[in-house]
Symmetry: C2
Subunit: 336 residues, 2 copies
């Protein structure tokens, strides 16, 4: 058998595992990418300490004032924009022929993770990473309280292949006025599992993965990180809270240090094992007005950009992966 | 208003149009990519004329023998593989703890589009492109007749950013033993529209786009090409048969020249306007045993790889696009 196709039991999505495909000849050799050497301060960078006047007005700062550690500002080039007193609900919908459109009202903010241009989560103390996830939580809760927002997404793009446009370490928050089909389908499958079995599907995955341990990368008191059974890309990692929490806003302040620790540890293992790979991570959470439900379980998904999504993946919604998650988890566990 | 969010009426998926985002500063300047200069013959290329013995046994050739024009061979590094007498249906399913897997049985073939290493659809005569789409149709019909297959996907990856591994012009066919959720959702939305309105949603889009003409790129007797209302990326183009056809297998032989013509014309306009962009295209068709249905309408979708899918797109399933399709369509219409 050349390959095996595995199902993600939480989404019912399939990944084709074909180890043979890693042996393909390539006209495009993986030319060793040269990482830019960055200085601690970059005069033209709007996110650097000392250049605070180059950003729109600050929304939040951890250790505020001149000696800020983490800063949150509006995105100067927003995908969606908050406008006070803008139309709501049906008033913001527009019909154009047979088509439907919505005014692009929402929130789009940048979390500046460090005052230093050349900083990186893997080189920070866990106490600094705690400040980043504290800012995530604070802004997630604040943005959720604006009842125009339906979905809040926190994400990070690290490196050019991951779609970053600026080197200074930062992540982003976007809130949209509806729940997109992709999220609705994930919620639907989780609800159906709950209806069938009376458990959160993610809680059942977590229980199994802690017992089985072959895909476990790291865990601490409050969180675990696994390479999922139907990993969509090589070194795909998902971090879950061990306790059932449907929405990221349910995270308590005393859990943040453990969250910072699991995030930093996993990113550092990836950095050391794979030589600073480009990656995205995203916090996938229940829509804000469904917080507290029994069937969904928020998680932070890390997707290294080691492979390229091509025509088959685009056309089928399936993924082809050339490395089994058991191999990735073992390699990462051994990476001290 | 900084942006507008448009809905694809066939899938109910959303795209955020934010023209401002095109003005972002970039630490990664779009370094002008140097295209490799290719020879007509490359001794190490398994797809070149003269090197036929380097591929597995030929499945189909148009103008067979030594002077073949288009050749179809099994993929030497298959994602899924055809094995005679392999288990079927439930017998190929495996349970592992709480998880489900399926043997990777199916078809994975390569359509070698030309004997020449440095050829390109945009430089071929339409009569040669007709041979390529004739091979697509023939293999689609043949593979569909194996009742183990549920979905047949034809796709092409052009250029490194589109995930190609070999320069020699080729496309691929993959058949899988189930219908993935992504396709099932598209079928579901189309069926619901049919139930509500009594028309194929794609037929209604086609009628509107031919009348409106602002997003029309090109059309001939049998096919049209548009930049869709909720285009997922800059210069996203979709080709539809004007007549209702749910499955690509319903294409008749006398339509193939028009299909070749619309495909070649659109790819040439993209090539000339955007300086040979990397792209994927994929033929999106009804599952094989649902051929002849009234609600779905096969189409060929072209996705230039000018932008990078990042954390927001991965986490939300929505897309952010910095150019309106009306602009893209006008630019392509003006590109003679």
């Amino acid at each position: 058998m050349s390959s095996i196709i595995r199902q993600d039991m939480s989404t019912k999505d399939w990944t084709i595992f074909s180890v043979k495909r890693a042996q393909r000849p390539h006209d495009y050799k993986g030319s060793k990418k040269k990482k830019k050497i960055l200085e601690k301060y970059e005069p033209s960078c709007p996110f650097c300490k000392g250049n605070e006047s180059m950003t729109p007005e600050e929304i939040l700062a951890i250790n505020g004032g001149k000696d800020w550690s983490v800063r949150v500002v509006p995105n100067k080039f927003p995908a969606v924009e908050y406008i006070k007193g803008s139309p709501e609900g049906s008033e913001r919908r527009h019909i154009s022929g047979p088509y439907l459109a919505i005014d692009g009202i929402g929130h789009h903010e940048v979390i500046i993770e460090s005052p230093w241009h050349n900083d990186n989560i893997v080189r920070m103390d866990t106490t600094h990473v705690e400040k980043i996830v504290r800012a995530y939580r604070q802004r997630f809760i604040d943005i959720s309280s604006d009842h125009q927002n339906q979905l809040v997404i926190i994400f990070k793009n690290h490196g050019k292949r991951a779609g970053t446009s600026l080197d200074h370490p930062h992540s982003q928050i976007v809130a949209t006025p509806f729940v997109p089909g992709y999220i609705r389908n994930k919620m639907f499958e989780a609800q159906r599992y709950y209806d069938d079995f009376g458990n959160c599907v993610y809680c059942d995955i977590i229980k199994h993965e802690l017992e089985d341990a072959s895909r476990l990368v790291y865990d601490n008191d409050k969180y675990l990180a696994i390479a999922p059974y139907a990993s969509v890309v090589p070194y795909n990692i998902v971090i879950y809270p061990k306790k059932h929490q449907s929405c990221f806003a349910e995270t308590t302040k005393d859990e943040l240090m453990d969250l910072a620790s699991v995030l930093r540890t996993v990113l550092k293992k990836l950095y050391d094992l794979l030589d600073d790979p480009d990656y995205n991570f995203v916090i996938d959470s229940s829509p804000v007005d469904q917080s507290g439900n029994r069937h969904y379980h928020w998680h932070l998904e890390i997707l290294p950009r080691l492979s390229t999504r091509a025509g088959f993946e685009i056309g089928s919604g399936m993924n082809i992966n050339s490395i089994f998650p058991e191999t990735c988890a073992e390699n990462l566990r051994n990476q001290k």
